[in-house]
Amino acid sequence: MIPPSILFINEISDIDKATQPLYFPDLNLDQVVDTITTRKNDYNLKPFFYTPIADLDLITYRQEVFGDLSDQKLLSGLKMFAESMIQVRRYLGLVEKLDYHYHKEGWYLEATLKYCQSVINLEKTLSQVNLTSRGFLSIHNYIQQYVNSIEFQSLYKEARAVKDDLVKIRYCILLQNGTVQVSHYSGEVDYGEEILKTFEKFKQGAVKDYRVELRESSGMNHVEAKILEFVARLNPLVFKELDNFCERYPQFIDSIIQRFDREVQFYISYLDFIADIQQRGYPFCFPKLTTDKEVFAEETFDLALAYHLLYQDNPLICNDFSLHGNERIIVVTGPNQGGKTTFARMFGQLHHLAKLGCPIPGRAAQLYLFDQIFTHFEREEKLRTLRGKLQDDLLRIHTILKQATPQSIFILNEIFSSTTLKDAIFLSERILSRISELDSLCVWVTFLDELSTFNEKVISMVSTVQPDNPLERTFKIIRKPADGLAYALSLAEKHRLSYKHILERIHP
């Protein structure tokens, strides 16, 4: 039997070697995962978000855990546990780096105290909530037994005793000509202010301020270490206790608790990320994953955009899509700035997130258990490549087509826009027919209306505007025939860039 894990049923080897899928930047999933894992770098969560799961049972296992985590009490208890464990690791990290005996032991003692308190608190939290997921039940069972063990109980008691004695010590340091003398403190008076007055008259005008912000504590040099050594000699019994403690407990962190601490962050970090979006009333759901290509989603949205809009007043627009029967390819046309790119990104994001076991944006959804996602978005011209844009475009598409299978998903955005209209149509139709032959799912954003009626696998979706004001985008992407309107000139008007406007704006 494998040890209880909140994230896996069977071990997945080399998960930590997972690298960011190539489609992440185009889908803005890099932003999403960066935001999710920001300030959680130490857990190294990215590999979990980089690795879609192929096993349907494991996807369900994770969906159950997400279910339990809707209990706020559980969630906040886990967060407190995580905070404490971060401090434990920081203290232990110090111990590794430090050079001096009692300094190391001092931090080791702090780490032990912190660890004991955090595990006890975690066990309390788990006992107080109603758990139903396979994942949490097995973890709780384990931690309960651990906390009640004799080993754990005596560890905690002894650590507290040593610390109490250390805190009571007081001592004095005399510094003179490279010599340090340490003795018991015996009531000498405060001398600082008298010294300050002596030097006050040498203050100059306003240049740089060289007064130093003196650190209270960070590390220890050999002089400080010597002082500590003398303090220990002045108080031999207390430090003997400390030595004994450290010898008896050469390590204390339980490996299964350690693993849990990291893995549960996958859930917590994702839930934190979507919490504010949910609070605004946007729905999330657990998608059904299928192996046929009939996919749909209702009231769904681009997760990166949703997060971005949290800090603005603009509303977030939800969209639907569905493919039936033989339909495979969504060609999206319509006015610029109408949400076409967002729609394409969303399609890819949903599929990736669904295969992580995460709740996804939308009221309801059925998504395809894909093998790979391929994206191609227009890129800036880079001198380094020493190649033209068009050649880049074609090279990349060529590579993608060689790797793709019928189970793959393509997301293509405004490719071939760096060449003439004729060339763009000619090249696009060739690529479209290759994807069509593969029978893959595809979303293709383009200003070429011609592609939307290419064959029976293609459906046309269009970004729409307000009927009474073509400058007002609705950000609704609707299934209907491409209508050829790009509204570009009205957009120029909006930016006051018509001939007349510019003459008004620039003075002769």
């Binding site: 010599t179 001398y191 209270e216 790119t341 006051r496």
Partner: protein, 497 residues
């Protein structure tokens, strides 16, 4: 004491705000390559070069002032680099012995402030020595004034005064501090204490009680230990160090101004040396006033590309007198972008007093240069592509004045060709009306051809070359727009068939 090597009558302001289009210019013109060559790995030089280049001059007299100083530098590179070493040495010494290590230790600041002042005096003597030896070799107004000032105005009375103070300000008594053990057994709650005196009544009371004292003396060469003791002492002597160190700053400020202003010329020397290896020609531009629109040059090259390839690249020759609009059309990968970059680079280099990479070069100064290039999809997601382009164009229009220069690269192609052309046509016509000079790279045949048909005398058409076999050449020629960009060629090379 003023340095005045960048302007005849004022200090250079290295913190001046750069024009809003600066980052776009750097990106679009691949200017980081040039700045990196100037910096030669030195971040400081990078920043100074950037600051100087993008606060463009518009007065031809000021441009020629710098050209003369730079010509002096090219004639006497060794002397100029020696001169530049003076503030550098100050910096290195400072980092090695003063602010770098001792910044956490007021005790260290106090004792090394004396050393620092001694070091500064030494450097000023070096500066005087260079002046005596080499001043006569310099012809420019800028350098002649600078050396004359050094010869007359050095005065070390200020340091003498500081030193007399310092001897009285040493902290001679031992420092007594009380403390407790905090987290990790680290000391905390340090409080400076007055040592007990023999006649304190409560000391007398304690006589006879044995209180152990442990003592440790650091080794004579244990610098680390000395600093550690200093750090503890610092609790009591923090403010003392402050006053002394500030005195040193006045002298130091002069040297750092020298470093800043010379830094620009050192950057130019670095670039010139790199280009020499590739056998690229350099020349000082002839500068025309803003209202005389001219671009006339031979073998003008893309400096960034040359630096990247580390060999001489193909340049272009254009003679555009009284042209306000220059269209560049033709094959993909035909050198259009390269050409446009070289125009932008040369303009910036000319207007900061630098040489340009050409056999000869003449152009008018412009009242601000702007680039409008296509960009990657806006990752902030607020806009569609065309909207984003228009929004950037609108921001440029806000800054435009007559005789500005705008470089367009494949602008307004994010929509279909017919509509994109119309948008571009309106913008171009309005800018021309306002005397703004334009270079416009496009593959949009409809756009370029509509201007060609008008046959206006202030418009010039250049075309990227293409040989009969479909291979590209990289030199532009005067030529009318043609209706295809040969996308099929590229498709065939990659997909076969």
């Amino acid at each position: 004491m003023k340095v005045f090597l960048l302007y005849p009558d004022r200090d250079f302001n290295p913190q001046a705000e750069l024009p809003p289009q600066t980052e776009d210019l750097i990106q679009d013109l691949e200017f980081n390559n040039i700045l990196s060559a100037m910096a030669n790995g030195d971040k400081f030089l990078f920043n100074i070069a950037k600051q100087t280049i993008f606060t463009s001059l518009t007065d031809p007299a000021e441009i020629y002032y710098r050209q003369a100083v730079l010509q002096d530098c090219l004639n006497n590179p060794a002397v100029v680099r020696e001169l530049y070493q003076i503030p550098i040495k100050s910096l290195e010494n400072k980092q090695a012995q003063w602010l770098g290590i001792f910044s956490n230790y007021p005790g260290g600041i106090l004792s090394s402030a004396v050393q620092f002042l001694e070091m500064l005096v030494g450097l000023l003597r070096e500066l005087r020595q260079i002046t005596d030896q080499h001043a006569s070799k310099f012809r420019s107004a800028g350098f002649q004034r600078f050396f004359a000032m050094i010869a007359q105005e050095l005065d070390d009375a200020y340091f003498a005064e500081v030193e007399s103070h310092l001897s009285e300000l040493r902290f001679r008594k031992g420092v007594l501090i009380s403390a407790q053990l905090g987290m990790g057994n680290e000391g905390m709650n340090y409080i400076l204490r007055r040592p007990k005196r023999q006649n304190d009544p409560w000391v007398l009371r304690l006589i006879g009680r044995k209180s152990p004292v442990y003592s440790y003396t650091i080794a004579p060469r244990d610098d680390h230990g000395a600093r550690a003791i200093g750090a503890l002492r610092d609790r009591g002597i923090n403010l003392v160090a402050n006053a002394v160190a500030q005195s040193a700053d006045h002298v130091d400020n002069f040297l750092s101004t020298l470093r800043t202003e010379l830094g620009f010329y050192i950057g130019c020397l670095n670039l010139a040396e790199q280009l020499k290896k590739s056998e690229e020609p350099i020349t000082f531009p002839k500068v025309a006033p803003a209202n005389e629109h001219i671009h006339s040059f031979v073998e003008l090259s893309d400096v960034a590309l040359s630096l990247l390839k580390q060999q001489k690249v193909i340049g272009n020759a254009v003679h555009a007198h009284s042209k306000d609009l220059i269209f560049i059309t033709g094959a993909n990968q035909g050198g259009k972008s390269t050409f446009l970059r070289s125009i932008g680079q040369a303009q910036l280099m000319m207007q900061c007093g630098m040489f340009v990479v050409a056999e000869s070069f003449e152009a008018n100064v412009c009242n601000g240069m702007f680039t409008h290039y296509r960009r990657e999809e806006d990752s902030a997601m607020e806009r569609g592509k065309l909207d984003e382009e228009l929004s950037r164009m609108s921001a440029i229009v806000d800054e435009l004045k007559p005789h500005s220069l705008v470089l367009f690269n494949e602008s307004f192609a994010a929509t279909n060709e017919r509509e994109g052309s119309e948008i571009a046509r309106q913008i171009i016509n309005a800018l021309l009306e306002r005397k703004i000079k334009i270079f416009y790279v496009t593959h949009q045949y409809e756009l370029a051809n509509s201007f060609f048909k008008e046959k206006a005398t202030n418009v010039l058409f250049l075309r990227a070359g293409r040989q009969i076999d479909g291979k590209r050449t990289f030199r532009l020629k005067v030529g009318k727009p043609l209706p295809t960009s040969y996308g099929l060629d590229v498709y065939k090379t990659i997909f076969g068939k």
